[in-house]
């Protein structure tokens, strides 16, 4: 039951936290949220850690590999994008749109 609470509150937070995003950041934000669901790798780790037999071990192994690609690839590619946004000379107020 507590898990339902966690779920419901997370829905609200998820909606609230990005309610206003400038279009400039839509691409990095999509890629950044994409990286966050890479946490699924940990689910794969839990499966693999309790796996017996070749079928479950294979499934768990693949789940961890895919999850890790999502996780590491997501964070690295997002950072690459945002790094370029920052590399400019000190930006004036133009960026600080409301």
């Amino acid at each position: 039951m507590a898990e339902i609470w966690v779920f419901a509150l997370a829905v609200f937070v998820g909606f609230e936290v990005i309610s206003k995003v400038p279009v400039v950041l839509h691409t990095p934000l999509m890629s950044g949220t994409n990286a966050i669901h890479g946490i699924v790798m940990l689910g794969g780790v839990l499966v693999l850690a309790s796996a017996h037999g070749p079928a479950l071990t294979t499934l768990g192994f693949l789940a961890v590999v895919l999850g890790a690609m999502n996780l590491f690839g997501g964070f690295v590619v997002t950072d690459r994008m945002l790094e370029m946004f920052k590399a400019k000379k000190p930006r004036p107020a133009a960026v600080k749109k409301p």
Binding site: F7, L25, V40, V47, F72, G73, D79
Partner: protein, 465 residues
């Protein structure tokens, strides 16, 4: 001990939330990504420590395999992320998202087999269905964006029938697994039907709408991950998956708004399919219409002797990797006293915000980039609007032609400038397959050539003056 682990998971969740918050503001975006990554480190360390110190179902197995799997995935993901070209960002996000969805589907399957019961819980089935749809849908999106499969929208009545049948089959399998118990064969069937559903969901969608689909699939994967959190009783997975599910849904809706479309319209209308007929007719009509061509030298003379220039870059510019030449041209003209601005349409490029990333890569100063609302009033006063590889975002039909599929989409008013120079490879219609009236206006001159070649020649011509 258990309390300490729960507290650390909470800390990770807070770091994700703060990271997301920072990601949505331009000044802190990069720190936001780092914060979320830090949250991921905390969550991983907590999970591993919990398994070692507080084993609930006996000591963990396969530690070597776990390390190997993480290493393989990490290296593959990070290397691909380092190497991918900025223009290929949409397919990169698609494929990474597919990995996450696939992982969630595999976890649900493994947990079902692990339980070895005839029935499956709602969370297990949800993780399997949504994860599989997200996986196969993302793979199709990747294939379409990469050009492996036709980017055109495919829309046949037969497909709607197949979709409906698959959906009924899905419901039947869910009922069977949930109530009467179908065992492993029914679960594999559920997996297969979900995978097919993902393929058929994305296949009919045209290339121009793909960013919206990827964003939607991104939120799907978030929900699938949350479902695996329910299956595995892990709050960190529930919170992060749900956060992405909710924020991804909101982002999807924001993108639809920028294109002035509804989500249902994007998913079911078969946008490109209805317009291919129109485009063919348009191409025939184009032959009859008058197109004015301008030479590189004439264009260079014009550009060097004006007061104000607005550059409208489109995806065609990025494909040709012309952004560096464009910046060179802009710098040269600025030295000659021309006031240069860039007009960025919200959906320029292939994802919302993509063009800003591409121009940032070419070191275009930020204060020269203007978005739609800021720049549109300036077009009337601009001497020249230079349209490079952009098409639908400057199509006046969006303002005036109610029959046009893009009617109502906010566009850049390039046609209001004193002169319009369009650099374009040929008269073929663009990404969405719609003919553009702008090319036939009396004030418009066409400079035919690929974006990079044409702009480089312009640079040479301006230098020679």
């Amino acid at each position: 001990m258990r309390f300490a682990f729960e507290f650390l998971y909470l800390l990770a969740a807070v770091l994700f939330i703060v990271g997301l918050k920072f990601l949505s503001s331009p000044a802190h975006a990069r720190r936001g990504n780092t914060t979320a990554a830090l949250g991921m480190v905390v969550a991983t360390v907590t999970l591993l420590a919990g398994m070692m110190l507080n084993p609930e179902g006996g000591p963990p197995h396969n530690l070597g395999l776990i390390a190997a799997a993480i290493a393989i995935g990490a290296v593959a993901g990070a290397v691909a992320a380092r190497r991918v070209a900025m223009t290929d960002m949409p397919q990169m996000v698609a494929i990474l998202n597919g990995c996450g969805g696939g992982s969630a589907a595999l976890i649900s399957t493994a947990e079902f087999l692990h339980m070895s019961q005839a029935r499956a819980g709602a969370d297990t089935m949800f993780g399997c269905i949504i994860g599989s749809i997200s996986f196969s849908g993302s793979v199709v999106a990747f294939a379409k964006l990469q050009g492996l499969v036709s980017e055109k929208a495919i829309n046949s009545p037969l497909q709607k029938v197949v979709n409906a049948l698959l959906f009924i089959g899905l419901l039947g399998l869910v009922g069977m697994l949930g109530f009467s118990g179908g065992g492993a064969p029914a679960f594999y069937a559920l997996l297969g039907v979900s995978l097919a559903f993902g393929v058929l969901m994305v296949m009919p969608i045209g290339g121009a709408d793909m960013p919206v689909v990827i964003s939607l699939l991104n939120s799907f994967t978030g929900l699938a991950v949350a479902a695996t959190g329910f299956v595995l009783h892990n709050n960190a997975l529930i919170i992060s998956g749900t956060l992405v599910g909710a924020s991804g849904t909101l982002l999807t809706m924001l993108m639809c708004k920028a294109m002035n479309r509804s989500l249902a319209n994007v998913l079911f209308a078969g946008f490109g399919a209805t317009t291919t007929a129109g485009a063919a007719g348009g191409a025939a009509a184009a032959a009859a219409k008058n197109v004015r061509e301008v030479s590189v030298d004439d264009a260079a003379v014009l550009l060097a002797n004006i007061q104000s220039l607005i550059i409208v870059p489109g995806y065609g510019m990025a494909v040709a990797q012309a952004q560096h030449s464009v910046r060179e041209l802009a710098d040269l003209l600025a030295k000659k006293g021309v006031d240069v601005k860039y007009a960025i349409h919200p959906v320029a490029g292939r994802m919302p915000g993509h063009m800003n990333v591409l121009l940032a890569e070419a070191n275009v100063p930020y204060d020269q980039l203007f978005d739609l609302d800021q720049i549109n009033p300036d077009f009337e006063r601009a001497d020249v609007a230079l349209v490079i590889g952009a098409n639908d975002v400057v199509n006046p039909a969006a303002r005036s032609d109610k029959a046009s599929p893009i009617y109502g989409m906010p566009i850049l008013d390039a046609d209001k400038a004193q002169h319009v120079i369009v650099i374009k490879r040929s008269m073929n219609p663009g990404f969405a397959g719609i003919d553009n009236q702008l090319y036939y206006e009396p004030r418009t001159s066409m400079l035919f050539g690929d974006a990079k070649g044409a702009v480089s020649k312009l640079v040479e011509a301006v230098k020679a003056m």
